[in-house]
């Protein structure tokens, strides 16, 4: 009896040890996976780093296969393209995301209306990005192109019958549209990409915004109401200031998404490796260059330069996400 009991116990202990060991191994595997990704990217991008150094970041000439001479890789146009598209997308998405967050976090917390809107926003996040790209390519790009064409037609209409003041006004308008914004009737371009990106990242910013807005303590709101504040004033002067850092976190996470988004952007941005001169120009982002050129990169330096872009993309999104998560964790601890 004693023997078999202790035998049993021993086996149990052993089983437990094996199980614990297994759990530990798997978890360490996650860390190994993460480090391996980082190290692989670093090693593979080393040739380009050594060859081009700082020129990679400041050069604006990206020429993988020149007719003669050495290939040149300056990635500045892609950094500019990525920055402009993602910040423009954020700018467009911000008011909508905040309003949805207020709607779901304050006005309608439960009930059918909020359920409906919530599922709609979730669906928006669920549509694969290649389908956004397809829709952009065949529906949205032509719409934008027609708009741009209309503007062009307007520019070439004869305005001589108008009064002097109207002519001056038209001249000013033309100056803004063509000399400052440099509108071209292409349809493809950073502006188009930003609008589609904005639609894609609204769900991320909105869901975090909703969470932080519904976390605002009731006594704060009640104190304001008891002093006669209207609901708008409560939202404007109590809720939004209280949630400032949380909303910031949502924006950061949405920015991380926007920077890494590939397919939809690739399909509508126009894929041009030159430095963009205006927000309506065709351009390229880090991710869209990778999607376009990676499978066709033959020489080692080209491949290595592309991997270096991937490394930068990985690090940027990691840093942005870390800051976002840090803010959220801090808020959760405070609440």
């Amino acid at each position: 009896m004693t023997v078999s009991f202790s035998f049993c116990l021993g086996r149990k202990m052993k089983q437990e040890k094996i199980f614990n060991g297994y759990l530990y191994t798997v978890s360490i595997l996650m860390i190994v996976l993460f480090s391996a990704i980082l190290i692989t990217l670093l090693i593979e991008s080393f040739p380009s780093l050594k060859e081009y150094g700082i020129r990679f970041f400041t050069g604006s000439n990206w020429d993988p296969n020149p007719p003669e001479g050495k290939p040149e890789f300056g990635a500045l146009p892609f950094f500019v393209g990525t920055l402009i598209t993602s910040f423009l997308a954020l700018l467009i998405c911000f008011p909508f995301a905040i309003m949805i967050a207020v709607f779901l976090g304050e006005y309608y917390r439960n009930g059918n209306v909020s359920q409906f809107l919530k599922s709609m926003v979730e669906l928006l996040a669920g549509i694969p990005s290649v389908i956004y790209g397809l829709w952009g390519l065949f529906v949205f790009v032509p719409v934008i192109r027609n708009l741009e064409l209309k503007i062009f037609q307007m520019a070439y209409t004869d305005y001589s019958h108008l009064s002097a003041f109207s002519q001056k006004l038209m001249f000013g308008l033309k100056f803004i549209l063509f000399d400052l914004l440099k509108i071209q009737p292409i349809g493809f371009g950073m502006f188009t990409a930003s609008v589609i990106l904005a639609v894609m990242i609204i769900p991320y910013a909105a869901s975090i915004g909703r969470e932080v807005i519904s976390m605002v303590p009731n006594d704060l709101k009640e104190a304001a109401y008891s002093m006669g504040a209207t609901r708008f004033e409560v939202i404007r002067y109590i809720i939004l200031p209280y949630c400032r850092s949380g909303i910031m976190a949502g924006i950061l996470l949405a920015l991380g998404r926007a920077i890494g988004e590939t397919m939809a952007v690739t399909m509508v941005i126009g894929n041009r490796n030159l430095m963009p001169k205006s927000i309506f120009d065709p351009a390229n982002t880090l991710a869209s260059v990778l999607a376009n050129e990676f499978a066709e990169a033959v020489n080692q330096l080209h491949m290595s330069s592309l991997i270096q872009l991937g490394l930068l993309l990985f690090i940027t999104t990691a840093v942005i996400n870390m800051f976002g998560k840090l803010i959220i964790n801090k808020m959760n601890k405070a609440a």
């Binding site: 309003m99 389908i131 397809l134 397919m263």
Partner: protein, 282 residues
């Protein structure tokens, strides 16, 4: 004066309320427009041939998407086989040993991987698998997608298991049930719904993922079941057919989008049903 000021404030309040509603519902417009176009352009090309035949050569009409359907199924299945066991185990670790230093590092890695752009994971799979084997392969695509699935599964497992009360585990342990059995027989079944929801959501997430497959599974016009050969999938097919100059190919892309959308939608609905039906309640 006070009265008019009060009125002004009340009107501002009302206007803001209307503004919030307006802005919120404007966001649903793109969704409806996209869905409308997918079904308007896509449904016309759906037919039995469409899902049961191999694609015709580019530019010719007819043909179907059988190879892409099978390819997506195989790649998704393979990446689930890789990601689900690892993800659930790591999730168990995070919820059981939350205070350990190691858990903090693992959580950090998971969070960073969750935000990693999908195309970078494609590069990784390319360097790790395609380059040594000198061949685009379904396996490399599955590896890239499984890295994308892992964080979602880990997070949902951890969150679910955290909610299960300690008393349940303590009761089991006090009866002398070994630790591993407690986990497998008590804790995991209780959290099954949450874990299953996480797995389904992660599948929905990777099913439409194109970027990591562009230079791993690559795509192929043939029906291939070989994991070490290039394999077609629905999203890469949409991408390739959208870029084609032939209108019938573009119509094909819409048809595939309709099918892909239906798949993703159905999986999302199932995930919602699962999380509602077997909700853990204590």
């Amino acid at each position: 004066m006070t009265n008019s000021h009060l009125k002004y404030r009340l009107i501002k309040d009302k206007l803001f309320y209307l503004f919030v509603i307006l802005m919120s519902f404007i966001v649903t417009v793109p969704l409806f427009v996209i869905i409308y176009y997918i079904f308007k352009m896509g449904l016309s090309s759906l037919s039995w041939d469409f899902i049961s035949k191999l694609p015709a050569p580019m530019g010719e009409s007819g043909g179907g998407i059988l190879n892409a359907l099978i390819g997506t199924a195989i790649i998704v299945l393979l990446s689930s086989l890789i990601a689900v066991p690892i993800g659930i185990s790591a999730g168990i670790f995070l919820s059981e040993f939350k205070e350990r230093k190691l858990a903090k590092y693992v959580r950090f890695c998971t969070e960073v991987l969750q935000g990693a752009p999908s195309i970078v994971l494609g590069i990784i799979a390319y360097i790790w698998i395609v380059k040594p084997t000198q061949n685009f392969s379904a396996l490399s695509g599955a590896v890239a997608l499984s890295i994308m699935m892992l964080p979602v599964i880990i997070r949902s497992t951890e969150e679910t298991l955290k909610m299960i009360p300690h008393t349940l585990k303590e009761a089991s342990l006090s009866l002398g049930v070994p630790y591993s059995t407690t986990i497998f027989r008590i804790i995991l079944p209780c959290g099954l719904n949450g874990i299953l929801t996480g797995v389904l959501l992660s599948i929905a997430r990777i099913m439409g993922e194109t970027a990591p497959l562009l230079f791993t599974a690559f795509g192929s016009p043939f029906l291939s079941l070989d994991l070490m050969k290039p394999m077609n999938s629905l999203p890469t097919m949409i991408y390739n057919y959208a870029a084609s100059p032939y209108p019938q190919d573009n119509a094909f892309a819409w048809g595939i989008s309709a099918i892909l959308c239906i798949f993703v939608l159905v999986i999302n609905l199932i995930a919602k049903g699962v999380s509602k039906k077997w909700k853990v309640q204590f």
